[in-house]
């Protein structure tokens, strides 16, 4: 990382101050101290997460409107989702959030092996979530509930149920995509952790990936009751 620094390059060229090459440590030259650098990183990450709120917020708003307009059809569509698998996935994701939070803690305490283990645990939980999601998608595929040309639904509100499944696949799909990206980041972080890049002195990448991962967990915390449990509640009334 340090090779990118202008002053360092200048120092290398002129042959003066060679110690600057590595001695600045994790502190980038445009920050006064680590506290300022960490706060800037956190702020930048939160700004990114706000764009994510806008991203998911748009779909959620569209879903809210359509669910209001086609209440019964959406409840009927939701009743075809597997509440058991959704609940298991919710629990798995909370476990992964815990291991992620503990990974940040391990980095803060310079416990490298623990950090690597917890990152791997987080990825395993994330992977398990995706496998269960995949099984659910497969069931929907077999039942012809995947939106598009081959969608089949016998009932008076087939079109609106079709719309519900479009929302289901869009929302869970972009959520799953976020998880795949998160796991990708974590593979990179695990390698770097193993290399010994992180310690109490520098763990921003771990913390920032943690923020991202927790955000993805929060999205699921809302998606689970809004999609899966809507059918369960309405089932009593219909």
């Amino acid at each position: 990382m340090s090779q990118r620094h202008g002053p360092v390059t200048a120092a290398v060229i002129t042959g003066s101050m060679p110690e600057m090459d590595n001695d600045h440590g994790p502190l980038q030259h445009h920050f006064d101290d680590m506290a300022q650098q960490n706060e800037s990183a956190a702020l930048g990450m939160w700004l990114f997460l706000l764009t994510e709120v806008m991203f998911f917020g748009g779909v959620l708003t569209a879903y809210a409107v359509c669910r209001y307009l086609f209440h019964d059809a959406f409840a009927e569509g939701a009743s075809h989702l597997d509440v058991q698998m959704g609940t298991i996935n919710t629990i798995i994701l909370i476990f992964s959030s815990l291991t992620m939070a503990l990974a940040v803690r391990a980095a803060q305490m310079s416990k490298t092996k623990l950090l690597v283990g917890l990152l791997i645990a987080t990825m395993v939980f994330g992977g398990a979530f995706l496998v269960i999601k995949g099984i659910e998608y497969e069931h929907k595929w077999v039942e012809h509930h995947v939106p598009g040309k081959y969608f089949q639904y016998d009932g008076p509100m087939a079109n609106q149920v079709h719309l519900f499944f479009s929302f289901y696949f869009t929302m869970t799909g972009i959520h799953a995509l976020h998880m795949i990206l998160g796991i990708g980041w974590m593979i990179w972080l695990t390698i770097r952790s193993w290399r010994g890049d992180f310690s109490a002195a520098y763990f921003s990448p771990i913390e920032m990936t943690g923020l991202y991962w927790h955000f993805v967990d929060i999205v699921w915390i809302f998606l689970f009751p809004l999609l899966y449990l809507f059918g369960a509640g309405a089932g009593a009334g219909h």
Partner: protein
């Protein structure tokens, strides 16, 4: 508050017990979410969605404040988060409010009069 000298030297390490407590609370919240969803509320069945959103918001708050360390974050982070929540509430509040309001029949008297007044004069 968050500007004490201590924060500048060492990262704030949250005790393990707090992480486990938050984890436990999230698990209880999940169980509660499922329980409320299948619970027969009778004539108050419309409460299912508000209750589900309430529990989900509580769970999200725990994650943001503790797992995401916002409790120990700068005030600027708090402002960012509230700006995000406010933005989202404006988006969904006004949009859904519009669609819900469209179906109010009959419209309040004053609105009806305002809508019909010019029309009847045109016809008359």
């Amino acid at each position: 508050m968050s500007h004490d000298a201590h924060a500048h030297d060492e990262p704030h390490i949250v005790p393990l017990s707090i992480y486990l407590a938050i984890f436990g609370a999230l698990m209880i919240g999940t169980a509660l979410t499922v329980w409320v969803a299948v619970f027969d509320l009778g004539e108050y069945s419309w409460l299912h969605t508000p209750l589900a959103l309430l529990i989900a918001s509580a769970k999200a708050t725990l994650v943001v404040v503790w797992f995401m360390h916002v409790k120990y974050g700068s005030r600027l982070v708090w402002i960012f988060i509230f700006a995000g929540i406010a933005w989202f509430l404006v988006l969904i509040g006004i949009t859904v409010g519009d669609y819900v309001g469209r179906n109010w029949e009959p419209a309040p008297n004053a609105w009806q009069a305002a809508v019909e007044a010019p029309r009847s004069s045109e016809l008359g």
